[in-house]
Symmetry: C2
Subunit: 212 residues, 2 copies
């Protein structure tokens, strides 16, 4: 299992496989062929087999793939059984939505702290986690072996927060801001969620469709 050279494109498809396999499992489908899975995923049987074979031979000739086994394998590859400790910074609308809404325990994470700099809401709770004062961020991260941060602050606050986190060893970021982490910290591991970028591409498509 030489994962060194597995392309980002393959990795990005894994959660999709995982979701569809979960659905199949719920429908009590026991086995599936690459062809059928490709149909569901709107891709080709070739791609399904290529993708899965990056990680090992999960299928059986003449039979296909065991749905539950394959789902299990993908969970393992993604590392969903981890409990990476994470903090969320910024309990505004987006931050609250993320904290309240995501099932972190199914996604390899455990949310252990929520931070904000608004003194008025400190101590309030979101899903049993109290909102802590941002000034205690470093001590908290060090004491709790925090490994990841979910950045839900305004862009103007992000630079400072990321610097502080990076300095106390938190180098993995789920970034909802437009602050460009990789620009300042090329070594950081980052997944950006630039919601407005995505909405702009929807705008583009609609704009295009109108012209035709």
């Amino acid at each position: 299992m030489n994962k060194e050279n597995i392309s980002k494109s393959v990795i990005r498809r894994l959660p999709r496989y995982y979701r569809f396999l979960s659905e199949l499992e719920e429908n009590e489908t026991e086995r599936i062929s690459s062809g059928k899975l490709a149909e569901i995923m709107r891709t080709t049987a070739s791609q399904v087999r290529q993708d899965l074979n990056c990680f090992g031979g999960f299928g059986h000739q003449g039979y296909g793939y065991s749905v539950s086994k394959l789902k299990e394998e993908i969970a393992k590859i993604l590392g969903l059984d981890n409990k990476f400790k994470a903090v969320l910074i910024g309990s505004g609308h987006i931050g609250t939505a993320i904290a309240a809404h995501m099932e972190f325990n199914k996604l390899g994470f455990e949310l252990v702290g929520i931070f904000d700099n608004n003194q008025e809401i400190l101590g309030e709770k979101i899903n049993d986690l109290e909102i802590r004062d941002e000034k205690n961020l470093e001590s908290f991260c060090e004491e709790n072996n925090v490994e990841a941060a979910f950045l839900c602050v305004p862009k103007s606050a992000a630079e400072n927060i990321v610097g502080r986190l990076y300095n106390c060893g938190v180098k993995n970021f789920w970034n909802f801001t437009h602050y460009y982490i990789q620009g300042d910290y090329p070594e950081a591991t980052v997944e950006n969620v630039h919601l407005s970028d995505i909405l702009m591409t929807l705008c583009y498509s609609m704009n295009e469709a109108e012209e035709d």
Copy 2:
């Protein structure tokens, strides 16, 4: 300007160009070369020139690109001056965050209605827009020429909602649910935001890094 054959990869980079150009404009940078822009974007000068040339010759030999003109052109290509009327369905955490947080008027949209099926919160307001009863969705969309919908409902509710919207002519979706719109409506224009998929890929990267 034959946009017919412009690849999705190019389109997805446009919002990024737009953001960096906005920053350059704020810093009062007047002109920029493909090389400098590439440095900022962490790509190659070749790619920058190829991308921009899909839409026309915006540069000047020996000079580079005018920041403000290029920004303007990209805005035009994306169609950000549109005011596509949109409704948001589901005013839970995510829906509220989206409604309150996004600057739709800068992104080619105008949010004209928010809908929910929770009778208890009907009439409440998010950014001056009252929450309306979901049962009036069709009539509202028809009366207001709604063209897009932002789906922030639970997955279980999405199938029904999308069907109803599609039937009354709303065929463009910004989809925060895990309901697979393209599966049922291949003709719909969809941008999915699968937050948990993104978090899983962060998990993968962290898991990878640990093993080394």
